[in-house]
Homo-oligomer: 318 residues x 4
């Protein structure tokens, strides 16, 4: 951190410092998930001590945070067959059994989600130096979320920044810096290391529940990560960074001339996946109670070919 | 099993024998998942020995098995923003960063999936005796898949029936009976017990890959479970039953007067969830190689409120 | 009209008085559109005098009036192939020609629309006495909009109530009664008769344009028809009634114990179709200018089988 | 026509000969629809003699011709509220009235349709010399179908090629040349002139009905227009060309090195809109019966902003 206002030059410097293009080969589409070795997977399972499972997903329905702006809508759920059809006799040609069926239209990043490496570009490139011609209307031919289909298993570490600061939640605009992350981890008695999935809690979901309305949660001002957080995450070789806000980063951004600068540093350059809109409230309460901030995390994306993000129902298993 | 052709009476007898309505209270919406206690979750994590993760999901795209019949289509994936837009300058109003975004229309049971307890009715009732008025065009108010959001974690056991029979795959119409399941488990040296997620492999996905076409895989003739399989699953208090076919059951069904009789016995009466169209090929090869047929299974559904099924990317972790 | 507050009894009385069930046979699914005979079609064409065409549809896009409440969203438009794909070379396997393609998800009554006769029920019945079992998740087997596929052609008459009252627009809550309709027609020098499509302008779309926001236009307070308007429309044997508001009727309704009472009288009982959210502004200006309030109206619905409504781009041809 | 096989050079020659870029101004987005003057609209109404209306649209449902190839699916129709919900009491909070509601997902060119001028590119340009940057994932900023919202009204002329040739239908691969169009018009006693909407019947829809299956109708071999037809349409200044096949042109195309060459000549260069998959059967029977091959045509597109095509329920009024 420095006293001067960070800008595109600060971002480029961090991006260059933590760039991993080519590190795992020219064809790599996994980025920092390469840090999650079988040994890490095995070790993460040993963190399951009391057999309690936490679902970190919001309900995927009309009560979600989206408003339609930026073309992002809450999910639309439709019944193809329902109980009324059964009553009306519409399935009476079937012998004995009756069934219901349904479909949903889901904007893939409208709720609890993973960003794929193909989600972000800077200077005409996404992770590993690939150009925009790889993401057409047919989807992402490279760096799609489907590459991670069996890679979202490992050690999760919760850094409950709000609680560590003695707050119920951070305020919109409140930035989380590398020094905050370090101090919080130390206070919680947990180390963050290679291949970890780091979950950073701001408490904004709790705030909006308290307010009784999402308001401008989706795409509005938010507490979140400052760009110095890269100095915490990247040297530690973490696998992924997750928050309980729409865009992981503090909003308004610290950089007046760059929108979502950490996306450029982490996703495009370091190849670190971001998870957003994860509901960390129940998990955080449990961690505060038993003092254990590490757990097995299993957060598999849908296997939609070409998708640049995915809804996810992450499982934190303690 | 008996020599006579089973019919609705056989089905009713099994349904009554294994009915669990009320067992976990009048308000229960979990059924046999109640068998998965924290202790079971804890124990399942201890099965992770080599840190290898298997994704058991088919790609969720236009190459899927659906044909549109029964209103079931393969997923439609749409880009809201793609690389071409970036090239065309459509995001030049954003400072530095560029992004892609997407959406999908998914028939929830079109590919690798969970059936919810609200998916099946018989004699006007679903699990726990609830009527069709609980599943309207707004979705399932009861027994929806969302209830299982943090319950799909436990011990998985693969019963590779095809391999046990010395076949590459079973043929359509080939039924798997309780005695087959017992003998296969014994031959594999694995026990099936309370709270287990039992994965039964017929090899039909391998067959269709070999043929180079799904053909009538979705809703057509299939190898699968006979109704006597209930005598294997129910007394053992399993949590869920999963197959690599569209509908779990042998097709044509053994019962000329009942369509999908095991759905009536297992889902409606026993409250046992079914998983369908799971791709067990890679996992089965590994199990055959190391002789270990048990593993941690984490298969969280999407949290779509009111949904009667869910796509899933199941993770088998060995 | 009467001084007492109208209620369900007033509604039932009007409904019974103007009920047409059986009038055109037990199998009829057209209702008052039966009044539009070939002779009426022929005569309506003779109203085309200056060859000017007015499209009465709002743009079908994200700027529409819906907010998502009641499950009604503005249309979602997706490109399946766009210019960026062409630039990226995604169609270079095609010889010479390049193309774009698209799809849309449309809530059928979200914008300028026709209500089908299957849209409204009262006392368990829709038009011609048919029960709810005819409208399942598979759509309306009876009284669907597709029946009108070649019947939406005839004489249109605009009754510009706002202008006749000397106002730019009527206020929410301002009711239009039978006497208003009569006086307005007389003042405009136009007669309303058998088989006519009557377009009633409140000016609410102009108001919301002036305000710069739809606000609560969709499903909120609105100027509109009072139930006495049935005494104007029904004896004259009109074919359809159209307004520039979301629900045709004055909101709040005059009847404290009946929501949308005129829908019960006109659609369910009289079999008169309603058109809603039609943009009458440009047409009204022209009528005021040339003093001609009649024209050929051609407003064909989409031919969606089973649909209970349809978006429409109505053409008023003068 | 010439004896040599036409190729890209033949196409370029015709494209250049009939190019109209700039003819109606650099900002024009209507092309040949500019020929439809108010006088033409007025005159077309005078063709209504017996008051009979023909809907030329196929049902928009799962029975349509699409198979999912090229990402084109038949429409998906979903009920948001249906009769079963009413029976189940799901609307009992509403006073007296009950309603049904629905939505549809429509690939805009999956059935009876208009191609927009933004639908086709050649050599990096669409009509009036505009580049692909005008059609992003947000839709067509130029040459979209919405520009024609009030322009699809005029004189329709049916050229029933199949009947004129004494056939029930033309065979796939059978080309219709300029001389055929001329001879057919002469035989039918009808002239084709400025601003006309010309409907060319091959009978392929009748053939597929006879066969009981669409087979490869969508995107497969088809009878249709040869490139010489441009010599018929363009000098006559027609407004639009319509057929009863998926792509208007004979398939396989006459040009081994150009796919859909007439799209390049007519849409991109001449600015003539194409209508496809119009059901001309009932209309053709009527024209054969009364010998009248001209009529008023009213075929308004949906007003979807940015769309590059539109479903349409065309009305031929005689």
């Amino acid at each position: 951190m420095t006293a001067v206002v960070p800008n595109i030059h600060s971002v480029r410097e961090l991006a260059e410092r933590y760039n991993t293009w080519g590190k795992w080969g020219a064809d790599d589409q996994l980025g920092a998930l390469n840090h999650v070795t079988p040994e890490k997977v095995r070790a993460s399972a040993s963190l399951v001590r009391k057999g309690r499972v936490f679902s970190l997903a919001l309900p995927l329905d009309e009560t979600g945070p989206q408003t339609g702006s930026f073309g992002r809508y809450n999910p639309l759920h439709h019944m193809l067959w329902d109980g009324g059809d059964i009553v009306a006799g519409a399935q009476d040609h079937i012998q004995e059994v009756r069934y219901t069926d349904d479909a949903a239209y889901i904007v893939l990043q409208s709720s609890t989600q993973w960003d794929a490496l193909a989600h972000i570009f800077h200077d005409g490139k996404m992770y590993n130096g690939l150009g925009p011609e790889h993401v057409t209307s047919r989807g992402a031919a490279k760096n799609g979320i489907i590459n991670t289909r069996d890679r979202m298993v490992g050690r999760g570490v919760l850094l409950d920044i709000a609680r560590w600061k003695g707050k119920t939640w951070l305020e919109p605009g409140e930035a989380i810096q590398d020094t905050d992350l370090e101090a919080c981890a130390r206070a919680q008695g947990v180390e963050v290391g290679e291949g970890d999935f780091v979950l950073v809690r701001t408490g904004q979901i709790a705030e909006r529940r308290h307010l009784g309305s999402w308001g401008d949660y989706a795409a509005g001002p938010a507490p979140g990560l400052g760009i110095s957080s890269a100095d915490f995450f990247c040297p530690r070789d973490v696998a992924a960074v997750i928050t309980d806000t729409w865009g992981a980063e503090v909003q308004p951004n610290e950089t007046p001339d760059v929108f979502q600068p950490l996306h450029i540093i982490l996703i495009v350059n370091a190849g670190i996946l971001l998870g957003e809109i994860w509901d960390l409230e129940e998990l955080a309460d449990d961690c505060a109670e038993d003092g254990v901030y590490e757990f097995q995390l299993v957060a598999p994306p849908l296997t939609i070919t070409g998708a640049v993000g995915s809804p996810v129902n992450p499982q934190a298993i303690k």
